[in-house]
């Protein structure tokens, strides 16, 4: 199997049903606890969602460093700005729809422009929130976070990566937006999988062993739990002889331009995959990089300018066109557009 051996993914990665399942927010809770143990400057603030954002682990261990804010997301951001200005490293948690959804201006001005190290953790991002419906399904959060100067934006692909990203965010000297999901998704990275803020990782490369990189047909650039769908789609497409590289592009800002541009050069066609509106999200950020440096045809898998709705997570991923079959269709479409 052409998995990049350096990234140490689980061996049975294609057996979706057999893989351990866990939500990325779980890794956040564990990462926050671990970061809190390492650095006493870390404080945690939550807007009445302590357990579902997985902040309860930290709250239980460090009650003196946990601050319950009630249902007040503007205050969540601005109190944290003050705490960070004083010298603390605050992590703030709510559902992504409310933070950063409701408190954007406070994040922009009192955190980012002020340039204080507040870490914003948006849980329950994407349509996979499920039955709660569109009011609680944030699919615009990447778009509103990534244009703000000083901000770092990370969307981890599974719970292990979420834990690493959370611990890494504590070390970033500035604001960070961390994006997590509610639903259990496959755990396919391991404790040994490398994670570095701003460094995209090649998870799969059909030609990894033959080193004839320019013969690649397409690169799939994905973020979040859908990286696993991208790998499943790739395994199928390989059987048809299509040569693919899959990149886990967890850091949307600052983006690993070198890896993205190299993928476009090696393949000549790109498909982006994200559980977010295709307007302004990770795919748009990739398009900005490629349009300027190495233009190739791009297809965007994501939510197509629609609101979510109620349903089961898997139903919704399919309904909104982000399933394995949709990624395969996008690959075939972009191959037809490819400049021969």
């Amino acid at each position: 199997m052409p998995i990049n051996p350096k990234v140490k993914l689980v061996e049975n990665i294609l057996e979706k049903e057999k893989l351990e399942q866990a939500p990325t927010r779980k890794g956040y809770g564990e990462g926050l606890l671990a970061a809190g143990e390492l650095n006493e400057k870390i404080v945690a603030l939550c807007a009445d969602l302590t357990e579902s954002t997985q902040m309860h682990l930290f709250a239980k261990k460090f009650p003196q460093r946990f601050i319950e804010m009630g249902v007040a997301e503007q205050n969540l951001a601005t109190i944290a700005a003050g705490l960070a200005n004083y010298g603390k490293i605050p992590f703030i948690s709510s559902y992504a729809m409310f933070s950063p959804g409701r408190n954007w201006e406070q994040i922009r001005t009192t955190i980012c422009y002020n340039d204080v190290p507040v870490k914003i953790a948006g849980s329950h991002a994407g349509v996979s929130v499920g039955p709660d419906g569109a009011t609680h399904q944030a699919v615009e959060d990447i778009a509103i976070m990534r244009p703000i100067p000083n901000m770092t934006v990370i969307n981890p692909c599974d719970t292990n990566e979420a834990k690493k990203a959370t611990m890494a965010a504590a070390l970033v000297n500035g604001p960070v937006y961390l994006r997590f999901a509610r639903e259990k998704t496959p755990v396919f990275t391991t404790l040994d999988t490398p994670f570095e803020v701003g460094k995209a990782e090649i998870f799969w490369d059909s030609l990894i062993e033959v080193r004839l990189q320019s013969a690649l047909d397409v690169a799939i650039i994905a973020c979040g739990p859908l990286v696993h769908n991208a790998i499943l789609a790739t395994a199928d497409l390989e059987k048809e002889g299509i040569k693919i590289r899959v990149i886990n592009n967890h850091t949307i800002k600052p983006m690993d331009e070198k890896t993205i541009i190299q993928a476009a050069k090696d393949s000549g066609a790109v498909v982006t995959v994200e559980e977010h509106q295709v307007q302004g999200g990770m795919g748009s950020a990739v398009a900005e990089v490629l349009a300027k440096n190495y233009p190739v045809p791009i297809e965007f898998v994501g939510v197509q300018n629609r609101f979510g709705e109620s349903g089961t997570p898997n139903e919704l991923i399919e309904h909104f066109g982000m399933g394995v079959s949709h990624i395969k269709e996008a690959v075939k479409k972009v191959l037809k557009r490819k400049i021969k």
Binding site: V43, Q64, R65, I67, M69, G70, A72, Q74, N75, T78, I79, A80, A81, G82, L83, A84, N85, Y86, G87, K88, P90, E105, Q106, T109, T110, Y113, N114, D115
Partner: protein, 286 residues
Amino acid sequence: MLHLHESKIKFLEERANAVRQSIIEMLVEAGSGHTAGPLGMADVFTAFYFHILNHNPKKPYWEERDRLILSNGHICPVRYAAMAHAGYFPLEELKTLRKLGTRLQGHPHRAALPGVETTSGPLGSGLSQASGYAYGAKIDGRKFKVYCFMSDAEQQAGNTWEAAMFAGKYKLNNLIGLIDRNNIQIDGMTEDIMPLEPLRAKYEAFNWHVLEIDGHNFEEIVNAVEEAKAIYEKPTVIISHNIPGKGIKEIEFDYKWHGIPPNKEQAAKFLAELRTLGGKIKSEHE
């Protein structure tokens, strides 16, 4: 009741007059900015920078300094003027207000100028920044006070009351708010636009200790802060009744002067008027 020595009051009145003159000079040079609010808060800022604050203009990052958070960033000309007169930076730099490359941004920016403590301007977010600051300092057992100056109109913003609820819950006795109650906002009088009264009762209902003062009386300003420091169980807010445009008769209480600067002719006239007052602004207008 604490009485300031007459010579101290005279000193403060003279400083306040100099601050007012600087405000007019800055605004006419900048060609934009707010006039009424800065003039109305000149006495309060003077009392703080020249008497109340525990600070060191030569060491703006001194750890034990009191923190003065200005929430309604648009009145920053008065803060810049008070800071310059107190020795934070040269008076000539005041002329750079709102110009490209300046440290004196149109609304204050933390990273641009040491001593402004935080970035502000968008109304309603200062009290919560100050509350977060005070909360952090309180759990660490720090001794300094966190002051937060607010406008009255930003009491219309929900974020302000989220902060008021928070500070009340956590009994932030190291936090002292001060509201510039000058009754004007851009579109008119506060009680016509969106009434704030009863403002005292609102803060009391949020578990704050509330004081009301004449914001042009130095003894009252100083005494209120002394009382606030003695309140142990609650945060304190001082409702400072101020006259917008204070010191220049023809613009006092005129809401149209909220967001505009004087032109050259007006500035010359205003400065002449201020110079005739010397240190006597208070007595001239009582």
